[in-house]
């Protein structure tokens, strides 16, 4: 398990180091972080239910207004607890 997990962590870096980066490959690498992050959150935000979706909106608004990551995270956690309670109360 430890070897398998390290192989995946080091493998991408190893491959990126082995090949000369064309401009196109560079553009692809630049696009990876946003695409991975969106993929990590999309199912939770879009398909979990109204509490998660609304809490996500709150996080985005706070992040845009304040630019503060800890504040945005705290907002999300508090919002999701309150909204889940509301949703549970309504159903």
């Amino acid at each position: 398990m430890a070897l398998a997990t390290y192989a995946t962590r080091a493998g991408g870096l190893w491959l990126a180091n082995r090949f000369e980066l064309s401009e196109r490959a560079g553009a692809w690498l630049d696009a990876i972080p946003g695409a991975i992050l969106v993929s990590l959150v999309a199912p939770t935000v879009l398909t979990s239910g109204p509490a998660e979706a609304l809490a996500a909106v709150a996080v985005v608004v706070v992040a845009l207004r304040s630019g503060s990551l800890p504040l945005a995270m705290a907002t999300g956690v508090v919002a999701v607890v309150l909204l889940r309670a509301v949703v549970a109360g309504l159903t």
């Binding site: 430890a2 991408g12 692809w28 990876i32 991975i36």
Partner: protein, 238 residues
């Protein structure tokens, strides 16, 4: 060393203690949420028959929450080793993409620092690191600092969960399961560069939601990431 991406050519890459400390500081909130998950993992590992020390060793050496939770479901006597290793590989495939994205900066670090650091690469500290690189602060130790804190929190909380399990409540009750989602969302907001992001991010969201619905496990992260990043290239190429 071969030629590097021309866009990044001029900028200097450092590896400093200050960078590691900055990375660790950035990871404090997610490390706290990680502790809650680690407590739960330690508890569940205890129920699956692992001792607290064994569970903590697994956390230290594997350092992948997703893989470890999945593997607990497979835990039986005799151990299905092939299934366990295969599961770990599949869950880790997204790390290939993440490591490749570090490449343009990390390839200019000494090998030991680069390959030592990626041992501690997790979703959170990797995402923070990419955010730093994005802002032009290229300190490779940022990843390591955050990762060391994360790994310590994860391993220690696993041990505590394993030793004092049963006392742990469901982290979802306190909204802690959403802490990671919120953190990643805030990072996405910071990465927004304008209209060029719309197509790749829409594709990533659509593919990950579909994959999450129809495929088991963690495929949605890798498939969404691949589809979205390729959409970004096609867009730039046209």
């Amino acid at each position: 060393m071969q030629q590097k991406n021309a866009i990044h050519e001029e900028e200097r890459v450092t590896f400093t203690l200050a960078g590691a400390l900055a990375g660790a500081r950035k990871c404090v909130p997610v490390a706290i949420s990680g502790c809650a998950i680690g407590l739960v993992f330690g508890t569940l590992a205890g129920q699956a028959g692992l001792g607290a020390g064994e569970a903590a060793l697994m956390s230290a050496f594997v350092f992948s929450g997703a893989a470890q939770f999945l593997v607990l479901g497979l835990w039986a006597s005799p151990l299905p080793l092939v299934a366990i290793v295969f599961t770990t590989l599949i869950v880790g495939l997204r790390h290939l993409l993440m490591g490749a994205a570090l490449g343009p900066v990390f390839s200019r670090l000494p090998r030991l620092k680069a390959y030592g650091s990626v041992y501690f690469m997790a979703d959170e500290n990797w995402a923070f690191t990419m955010g730093e690189f994005d802002k032009g602060r290229r300190d490779g130790a940022f990843l390591l600092g955050g990762g060391l804190l994360d790994a310590f929190a994860w391993t220690a909380s696993t041990f505590v969960g394993g030793a004092f399990g049963g006392a742990v409540e469901d982290p979802a009750r306190w909204g802690l399961d959403f802490a990671f989602t919120a953190t990643f969302l805030a990072l996405i907001v910071g990465m927004w560069k304008g209209k060029t992001n719309i197509l790749p991010w829409t594709v990533a969201a659509a593919v990950s939601v579909a994959a999450h619905h129809w495929l088991p496990g963690q495929w949605y992260i890798l498939l969404g990431g691949l589809a979205g990043s390729f959409a970004g290239v096609v867009r730039r190429g046209s």
